[in-house]
């Protein structure tokens, strides 16, 4: 069977991000493979190690710099990769429409993608991909077992978690708890150089400008009220409780 792991390259969690008039400034930022997507790559490798005959294809849509993250996936154990190279920022639904075409061309049996994308903090890509493909979908998956022609998963819900069984092909979104991703070993990093990395252009897929346009960007900063409560301790405490209840609404 064929597994596709969709991945993104995002700023390192420790990177300092600045926003200017022209948008988010990523100059000098270190990029890594999105941690949420890494769980999907790891799960695909584990399915192979469990004795399943699988081909693992890493699939990414993004700028040239994504190649580093794709190489990481190849070093971890993906067999080959497809990179749709573009500098265009697409919303998740437009991304899903492009990625779904590759998934269909490849004839994949399962797509693994992070439950959330760390760049824009969107959790839409997996569900949108399932919608475009018309496939069943499990989000926030923490356990996955393959059977003949189907997959059984556990996934988180608001109140706890539930088990689902669904026929293949299916879209699975991954998260912390599914597994513990390994390091790419040095020998595998060297071998990854010789693995196929196919480049595709965005205009092959008839993608337009996307459904949403970014009109402005800001970095969220915590603003202080600078409020000083006057009076003796007892009345100041009473006023503080009132403010926390009625204004801050945290009590």
């Amino acid at each position: 069977m064929k597994l596709i792991t969709v991945l993104k390259q995002v700023p390192d969690a420790e990177a300092r991000i600045r926003a200017g008039a022209a948008g988010v400034d990523l100059d000098g930022v270190t990029f890594v493979i999105d941690g949420m997507d890494e769980y999907g790559v790891e799960e695909a490798i584990r399915l192979r190690e469990a004795g399943n005959e699988v081909e693992i294809v890493a699939l990414a849509l993004g700028p040239a710099r994504y190649e580093e993250a794709i190489r990481t996936a190849l070093a971890l154990g993906a067999d080959r990769a497809v990179h749709i190279e573009t500098d265009v920022d697409l919303d998740p639904i437009s991304q899903a429409r492009v990625l779904a075409q590759v998934v269909q061309q490849e004839g994949a049996d399962m797509v693994l993608v992070g439950g959330k994308q760390a760049d824009w903090d969107s959790a839409a890509l997996g569900p949108a991909l399932a919608e475009v493909l018309g496939w069943p979908h499990s989000d926030w998956t923490t356990k996955l077992e393959l059977a003949a022609g189907s997959v059984t998963v556990e996934h988180d819900t608001d109140d706890g978690h539930e088990s689902l069984s669904m026929p293949l092909p299916a879209v699975i979104t991954t998260q912390q708890g599914l597994n513990e991703p390994r390091y790419p070993t040095l020998p595998n990093i060297m071998k990854a150089k010789r693995k196929e990395l196919a480049k595709r252009a965005l205009d092959e897929f008839g993608a337009g400008a996307g459904l949403t346009q970014i009109t402005s960007q800001q970095i969220q900063t915590r603003e202080r009220l600078g409020k000083v409560i006057e009076g003796d301790a007892a009345s100041a405490a009473a006023e503080l409780v009132r403010l926390l209840q009625s204004e801050a609404k945290v009590l």
């Binding site: 580093e68 190489r71 070093a75 390091y183 790419p184 070993t185 040095l186 990093i189 060297m190």
Partner: protein, 379 residues
């Protein structure tokens, strides 16, 4: 044309080494330092991800990484624990003479096994009464038919007693001085070889250091590297290269000193503000940054010269002396930033100073590096 960009492979090697050190080295560094114990699980884990013995050539099953690759790995390990890095570094030091002078058969026999398990190599040059004067070796090599009989004592040998093999330098004809020396591979299990782990080092206490006694140890002549008389030359050509990882480890220590100082300076308050707001502290951080950037550039430059087959002895000596001297200065300034806390082993900076002191001494003291540099200046 000049460019400072690492290749994609190199960025991945760097990222792997950084994650590995964060997860496997930093959490155990203080304990191995205190207890003076060998970090076997770290060495096993390093082997499992391929970070051990990285210079073993592809032709005998290794990765054949370059000196620049090694410098990237060295900086990351130096950041985590210079003592633990010395175990890996000293193994590469034991491998280097074979890269320079071994036949393909010798490389297969000695280097091939080093990639199959968490195994180490070592380099045995220093003697109790002979360090910098490498031409005055007292260890004897007597040629007896198709065997070489080695007798004498070596000391300060990192990994010596643990290594699968030591490359031992000995004199077969003292009157010939440098030209009377040989480099011989001596396997661990040869009868007559005994070792003693030394205790009481100031720093780098996770790295096991040995004295080694050769009591008429017999090895086949086929264990000799190069020709009779090549010993000193092989030792010097080895050190001209392996001083680069010593510099890289020091760059890692420097980066750690800066990181720890920056973090502490942003937390600690005095006179109503964080101490990072005082110029006295800012200047220390700035000086560390100046040293970090320049030491790394010189280290990478020396590595690039070595990798592209250019003369690199002087550049490597500059990198080694400059990186280790400035890392020592940065580590002791980090203690000043921390004040009293910096003097306690509860905080990581006093260990940086104890550890990097050794980078100023081993693989040729920094005085010897200056002799090498001056020789090039006066040439």
């Amino acid at each position: 044309m000049i460019q400072f960009e690492l290749s994609d492979d190199q960025k991945q090697i760097q990222a792997l080494a950084r994650s590995f050190v964060r997860d496997n080295v930093i959490p155990v560094a203080a304990q191995h330092d205190r207890e003076e114990t060998y970090p076997a699980t770290v060495v096993e884990a390093a082997h499992a991800v391929g970070l051990l013995n990285v210079s073993v050539p592809e032709s005998v099953g290794g990765l054949g990484l370059s000196m620049l690759d090694e410098a990237l790995i060295g900086e990351e390990f130096g950041y985590g624990c210079m003592g633990i890095y010395t175990i890996l570094m000293a193994s590469e030091l034991g491998i280097m003479p074979l890269l320079l002078a071994a036949t393909q058969e010798q490389q297969e026999r000695f280097l091939g096994p080093l990639v199959e398990g968490p195994r180490l190599a070592a380099f045995a040059l220093s003697e109790p009464n002979n360090g910098s004067d490498a031409g005055g070796l007292r260890t004897r090599a007597v040629f007896d038919g198709d065997e070489i009989v080695i007798s004498g004592t070596k000391t300060w040998i990192s990994n010596g007693g643990l290594a699968d093999f030591n490359v031992v330098f000995a004199s077969f004809e003292p009157a010939l001085k440098h030209k009377g020396t040989v480099a011989v591979v001596v396997e661990k299990d040869r009868p007559g070889l005994s070792t003693n782990k030394l205790h009481g080092k100031l720093g780098q206490r996770a790295s096991p250091t040995y004295e080694m006694f050769f009591d008429d140890v017999r090895v086949p002549v086929s264990n000799m590297l190069g020709e009779k008389g090549d010993g000193f030359k092989i030792a010097m050509r080895t050190l001209d290269k392996t001083r680069i990882p010593v510099a890289a480890g020091a760059v890692g220590v420097l980066r750690r000193a800066l990181d720890e100082s920056r973090k502490y300076a942003n937390e600690r308050e005095a006179f109503g503000r964080t101490i990072a707001q005082f110029q006295a502290i800012q200047f220390k951080l700035a000086n560390m940054k100046i040293a970090l950037e320049t030491a790394r550039l010189q280290t990478w430059y020396a590595a690039w010269l070595a990798d592209t087959g250019r003369p690199h002895a002087e550049a490597a000596a500059i990198a080694k002396a400059y990186a280790s001297d400035s890392a020592f200065d940065a580590a002791q300034e980090a203690i000043n930033v921390f004040g009293g806390y910096g003097y306690m082993n509860e905080y990581p900076v006093e260990k940086l100073m104890r550890d990097v002191k050794l980078n100023q001494i081993f693989e040729g003291t920094n005085e010897i590096q200056r002799v090498v540099i001056a020789r090039h200046v006066l040439q």
